[in-house]
Structures are given as C-alpha cells and as structure tokens.
Amino acid sequence: MASTDKPTDPEYNKGAPPPPPPPSATVNCFAFDVTLRVLLFAAALTAVVVIVTSDQTKFTVPLGIREVKFKHSPAFVYFVVALSVAGLYSIITTLASLSVIWKPNLSTKFLLHFAFWDVLILGLVASATGTAGGVAYVGLKGNKHVGWLKICNNYDKFCQHLAGSLAVSLFASVVLVLLVWLSVYSLHGRIPK
C-alpha cells in the first residue's frame, strides 16, 4: 500500500501542468457514478424487500393450510444474500465515490478498484438473477417431463413478488454493466495525452 502511495505524491509534487483539465472531467464522471451507485442501492434494497415479503399462506381444500416461503428454495436464499451483498457494496462505494469528488487526486486508483469490484459484483448479481429466474420459471410453467407441478396458479401473490424482484435485480445488473463501462471509459479517457 505504502509503495503504491509513494509514486502519487512525487507526481503530484512535480506540479505537472495537466491538473486543470482532469478535475472537471473527473467530477462530471463521478457525479454520474454516484447517481448510478445510488440507483444500484435502491434496486438492491427493493429487490430484497420485495422477495422477503413474498411469503404467502393459503388454504387449499385437499392439502389444508399450506404456505410458501422464499426460504424453502436455496435458489431464493442465494438471491437474497447476493442482492444484500450488492446493496452493502453500493453503500460503501457510494461513500468512496463521494470522497473522490471531494479529493480528486485519488481518482485513478479508485477507478481501478471500482472497475474490478464492479465486475465481481456484476457476476454475483447476474448469477443470482439467473438462479432465481430458472427456479421461478419452473414454478410458473411447471415441467411435465419430470413431474414438477407449477405452483403459480395457487400462490399468485408469491409469484407476483418474485417477478417484481427479478425485474428489479435485472435492472440492477444493467446498472452494474453501465458502472463498469463508465469506469473503463474514464480510465480510457485518461490515456491519450
């Protein structure tokens, strides 16, 4: 850490002429960055809240009182955990991104870290969306070949919550893709000179 800190200081002390242009570009990018991260946080929070409140209890004639919960399927548990991690991550990086707006000289290092971690979190959120989507699709349509019955005709509220949550998490992964593009693009913008 110390070794990476050192080179920035001399470079800064050298008082190179460029500083004036980068700050303006940087601030613009990071304002957009913060907006996207807040969106990501909102999306992750909404997805988690919607799926956690999806439990439904219903009285059906042949089976008596039955309830469906998201906890009954490991796929949905994974979904909740992954989206919670993404939400926490978005809080931390929003703060980090805000701190860069106040102290622009850290920006390149932060951009690099953001780009790395955003890619990982994108993998997490995309796989969670795929996981929950795969199971929810079987719940919606059933599968005749292996005798898995559809459940969405009985538990409408549960399935509506699932669908809403999945749509929001899909939106969250799109936001993450945009975030990585933004980081890559602003890293790329720093090269030409």
Binding site: V68, T108, V119, G130, T131, A132, W148, L149, I151, I191
Partner: protein, 188 residues
C-alpha cells in the same frame, strides 16, 4: 528522450498483454465449446420397473432425460454457444486488428462486449445450477421430486458441463479484469 521511452512502452508491453489476451480467449472458447457439446450430447434412457400391486406383473416403463426438456438447460446451452462463437469472433478480430493503429479503441470495445457475455454466462450458470440442485435434492415443500437417482449419468454429464462453463466464465472475468488493468497501466 521522452518520445523514445513512450515508443518502447507502446511496442513492448502491449505485445505481451496481447498474447495473454489471445490465450485467455482461446481458453474461454475451448471451455464453453466443450460445455455446450457435453450438454448437447447428454441424453439418457432408463427402463424403470414399476410395481403397482404384487399380484400384477411388473411394468417396465421407459423414461428419457434430455436437455431440451428443461428450459434452464436450453438457456445454458444457448448461452454457452453464444459465448463460444463470440470468443472465436473476438479472437480473430483482436488478432487481425492488433497490428494496426487504434489499439485502445479495440481494447475498449472488446472489454465492453466481454462484460456482457460474462454476465450472460454467469446467469446461465446460475439458472442451470439451481435446476440441477432441485434435480439432485428435490424440493419437498412444492412436491418436486428428485430425478438424479434415476438418471445418474445425465446428472454427472451436466455437473461436468457446469464446471467447464464456470471455468469459461471465469476466463471472461479475467479478460475484463486484465483489460481494465491494461488501460490503467498505460503511461499517463
């Protein structure tokens, strides 16, 4: 002096990066291709004896497990095929363009596309793994019974394909990570 140093950097370090990049693309190509093929050829037919009552003769029913029967597996196969063809196209593209002028723009475009393909592969892996786990363990809450006790070979095939596809998607992840690092390491 300054010009000489920057020339050396432009010629030397991207070359090594390019070789590594091409190697990773080849790696991703191979793994997603094998994953898609392994799923595509997996088909198992089992004859299951069913006894309804001891007095009646045992029925022998034939059951078949195919990847087409489950939408998550279809999604998995299609995603792997897309990733595989993209890896081939991007490999050719990056090798063909590599000697010409605008290296940075190529890196930018390719890393953006790599990212999208990576997200696609990860979601396909998630979907297939979730269905595979239901197939292995079943889900007693909604009366979905397990099927892997009947179709053992099919499930083993599928597990292998899943592992291969995971390795392939990690290769895409590394590609994006190294592209970002490469952009960062360029002389500023």
């Amino acid at each position: 002096m300054d010009g000489v140093r920057s020339d050396v950097k432009v010629v030397e370090s991207p070359r090594r990066v390019r070789v590594f990049d091409a190697f990773l693309r080849l790696f991703a190509l191979a793994f997603t291709l094998v994953a898609a093929v392994v799923v595509g050829v997996s088909k198992e037919t089992e004859i299951v004896p069913i006894t309804i009552t001891p007095s009646l003769p045992t029925l022998h029913l034939q059951f078949t497990a195919k990847w087409q029967y489950m939408s998550a597996f279809v999604y998995f196969l299609v995603s792997n095929a897309i990733a595989c063809s993209y890896a081939a196209a991007s490999l050719v593209y990056s090798l063909a363009v590599s000697s010409s002028f605008n290296q940075d723009a190529v890196v930018l475009v390719l890393s953006i596309l790599d990212l999208v393909i990576m997200a696609l592969l990860f979601s396909a892996n998630g979907a297939a793994a979730a269905i595979g786990i239901i197939g292995r363990d079943g889900n007693s809450h909604v009366q979905w019974r397990k099927v892997c006790d009947m179709f053992g070979a099919f499930c083993h095939h599928f597990t292998a394909a899943l592992v291969l596809s995971l390795i392939g998607s990690s290769a895409f992840l590394l590609l994006v990570a190294f592209a970002v690092l490469g952009l960062h390491k360029k002389p500023k």
